[in-house]
Structures are given as structure tokens and as C-alpha cells.
Symmetry: C2
Subunit: 158 residues, 2 copies
DNA sequence: CAAATCCCGAGTGTTTCGCTAGGAAAATAG
DNA sequence: CTATTTTCCTAGCGAAACACTCGGGATTTG
């Protein structure tokens, strides 16, 4: 389990989807605008999220992405695992003969620690994060400044 | 808080030190041998650990590194934070004006999540890890094959 | 003294990060 | 039907980080 800005972008984008889940799909251009990152980079992240069954895409005007499941059924661990390459964190890469033909200390130790970390992040759902005071606050302010989805598709804010 | 193989090397090396803490300092060549990584790379990691007050170095023949504190007083979070660059994890880099002159959702969300993660890893001490069955097992096998420190400095295994 | 070991800085190849570019397919609007 | 909007897909690119190498010190032990 790796942890970098890549996972953060993914989690934040999923929060964005969860906030507008009952209104309609969210276009990547909207997320790119609020997160200040490029659409193409978001596309690559969402390709992974889609392949892992976390979001569903809807093409055409008015389309966008939407959560594939309820916010309470999606954990932070799933999101991070989806966008991370998840290549051999252990040096022995699955083969447990990294030292003297047997498992090295590194292997067992990190498998255990990584497991504990995964369990921790697996216990946090998107629905829970939405209830965090700081998140609710910023979400409300964002909605006030850039209303998305509450009006029908015929209006333009800018 | 970032998490990669770099942090794993550091944690594993610290475990190695903790295992031999009551016998004497551990030379980097020994750690490099068991972990199968280069001495120079370990030196760079230990430079950071030393600057963060986690280990103390002792030069000259018979020297090496030793824990600066008791194993129960050192947490996994400290070790990982010591070796990580810890540059701007937030896009706004401390300045909280990343969106419309105010804090963005990214900022608050990740500060919260990162904090929870840090607290979790801060709750795990080196002393606790030493008690994990898997770690004890491999440690005992390693000690049997490559006894270090239990004999005086006058013997050679190979 | 000489050997062992920590200490330090500069440089190197590979991978990942974040992004750009260019298009193709699908769905809606007119 | 056509034009626009959006997802989808692939390829590549500069910068950063990763893991490492090399070369030289400084300091302590024997």
C-alpha cells in the first residue's frame, strides 16, 4: 500500500462525486476546475476507478461520473488501492526466498504493518468523511460559489 | 505523510537495531547484508534518522548505530516521517488560498485524513512490533544463522 | 600507525508523477 | 442529420523521487 498525492487526488474527486451523487453525474471538467489539475490526468485516475468498479461513466452532454455504489459502501482504502500501481512493495515480490532461501524480516514485517494500515483505511468510508465538520464546511462554501447540478442543464454560471 | 519502500527500509533497519540494542552497536554493513541493499543508501537513511534523534552513531572499529531511545519510546510514525522528504503534500503548500482565496476541499480533507493516519502509526512502537509473532520468528532464525553481537568481536562467521 | 566505521557530497539510471497531445466513440441539442 | 459535449484510449514528456554508486573525508579502536 503506497500513499502519495495520487491517492489524495482520487479520494478528493470521489468526495466531489459523493457530494453530488443524488443530483446527477459530475463532469471531469468541474472536478479539474475545483482541484486545479488537468482533465487528462483526472481521466487516467478515473480509468482506474472505473476498472475497479468504484465509478460509472456516462458519455455525452450532461454526462460525467457517478459513484457505482453508495458512499457508505466505498472505503478510502479501495480508492487508494485502485489508483496505485501496487507493484512489488516487498523486495522478494511474492517469492518468499529473498534471504537465504527463506522469508526475510522485511517481508513479514511489512506484510503485517501494511495489513494493519489497510484495515485502518478500510474502516473509513466515503460516507463517514462527508460527515467530518471541516469537509462539510468547505463543501457548503463550494456549493454556494459554484452551484452544480441543482439547476437544470440549461443555465450557465459563468 | 508519504509511504513507500523508503520508509520500509528505515523501519526494518530500526527493528534490526532494536533486536541488538542490549548487545552493542550494529554496523551498516550487517544491515545492508541482511536487507540486501547498498551501504551508501543506508547511510543516507541513517543520516536522517540521526538528525531526527532516533539513532546515535559510534565511529571506529566495533562501532555502528544504536537506538537513541528505548524501543518502546520510538514509534513507526516517527521513523517514516524522518526519512520522508515531507515536501508540500498539499497543493497550496501551507498557504490556504488555493481556491478562490480560501482553503480548498483538498486541503482540509487530506490534513484530516493524514492526521488520522499519523495518529494510527504513532500508536505503534518499535517495542510492540518486536512482539509480533512473525517478526520474532524471523528474527530468531536470522540470529541463528548470522549471530551478531552475542560473541565478542574476535570471531568470524564466514 | 592502520583498519574499521561513520560522515558527507556529487553524480547516475530507472521509475513514478503530473501533465500534454491527439484522437475515437457515444450521447445529447438543435 | 449535424454539431457539440462528454467519456474513453494511447502515446509521450519534463521533473521529481527512488535506489544506488563513487570518492573522499573524519574519528575511534587495536
Amino acid at each position: 500500500m503506497r500513499l502519495s498525492t495520487k491517492g489524495r487526488y482520487a479520494v478528493t474527486a470521489m468526495i466531489d462525486l459523493a457530494l453530488h451523487n443524488d443530483v446527477g453525474p459530475v463532469a471531469l471538467t468541474d472536478i479539474a476546475d475545483t482541484q486545479k489539475i488537468s482533465v487528462s490526468y483526472l481521466e487516467q485516475l478515473f480509468a482506474r476507478l472505473r476498472k475497479n468498479g468504484l465509478v460509472t461513466g456516462m458519455r455525452g452532454p450532461g454526462g460525467g461520473y457517478r459513484l457505482a455504489r453508495a458512499a457508505d459502501e466505498i472505503t478510502v482504502a479501495e480508492i487508494i488501492a485502485a489508483v496505485d500501481e501496487q507493484i512489488d512493495m516487498t523486495r522478494c515480490a511474492g517469492k518468499q526466498d529473498c534471504q537465504d532461501g527463506e522469508k526475510c524480516l522485511t517481508h513479514e514485517l511489512w506484510v503485517d504493518l501494511s495489513r494493519q494500515l489497510y484495515d485502518f483505511l478500510h474502516g473509513i468510508t466515503l460516507g463517514q468523511v462527508l460527515q467530518w465538520p471541516a469537509v462539510k464546511q468547505v463543501a457548503e462554501r463550494q456549493e454556494a460559489r459554484h452551484p452544480r447540478g441543482f439547476q437544470s442543464k440549461s443555465e450557465n454560471v459563468a
